[in-house]
Amino acid sequence: MAAIERPVAKPRPVYLNLLAIRQPLPAIVSVLHRISGALLFAVGIPLLLWFVQTSLASGDGYAAAFAPLSSWFGKLVLLALAWAWIHHVLAGLRHLALDLHIGVDLAPARKASAVVMVVAILLTLIVAVRLW
């Protein structure tokens, strides 16, 4: 069998610096979905359990559970978690819509991603206004 002459493959440039590639909007929403989820796992769940436990202990405990919100740092932590929760839920709803074949095409996918980003930020701003 005659060997087929193949040109020697040139090493192709690999360019996978994720920070230098301009990510499409759905990719940004997706990675924020992961970051917000990890944040809720590591910080959100323990704080939620602490809050419910402390607030149910007594009337004083109820006040103590809200006490961190009188400091800037406490407000900032709650605001970050509020954003994480809101973004995660909205991005999740988008996933459910995609499962139902809604918004799968490129233009609707981009549009829905933009809606998720913007609405999450707007709702977080409302939380911020109520906190301060």
Binding site: R34, G37, A38, F41, L49, V52, S55, L56, Y62, D99
Partner: protein, 120 residues
């Protein structure tokens, strides 16, 4: 680990469809619970200690809260495992981190039971 007769990693994903469904079912349970909380708070026109305490005095609310927390913890497991599968490449590191996540989730589950049924 590659090329053996059984080319399969203990910490790999070979159970995608089941987790895909579970992730969505738990998400819907959590969304419904969140809406329930929002409705209760709106119904009472805000929240105070007496209302809060009365909510958790109801067995039905405690069971709903437990269902929410179980959904949350399972959802967190699927999500954290997916993240680790993508970014923690060495199998030993991935296994170690997954064990940490499982231990944390079991601790959260114990804490949840304590909060819901171990109270004064």
């Amino acid at each position: 680990m590659v090329g053996g007769p059984v080319d399969r990693l203990a910490v790999g994903a070979h159970y995608g469809a089941r987790d895909w469904l579970a992730q969505r079912v738990t998400a819907i349970v959590m969304t419904l619970y969140t809406l329930l909380i929002a409705l209760i708070v709106l119904w009472h026109g805000g929240l105070d200690y007496a209302t809060w305490k009365a909510m958790f005095a109801s067995a039905a609310f405690r069971v709903s809260s437990f269902l929410f927390m179980v959904s949350l913890l399972f959802h967190a497991w699927v999500g954290m495992r997916n993240i680790l599968m993508d970014y923690a490449k060495p199998t030993s590191l991935r296994l170690a981190l997954q064990i940490v996540v499982v231990c944390v989730l079991v601790a959260y589950a114990g804490w949840t039971a304590q909060v819901l049924w171990g109270g004064p």
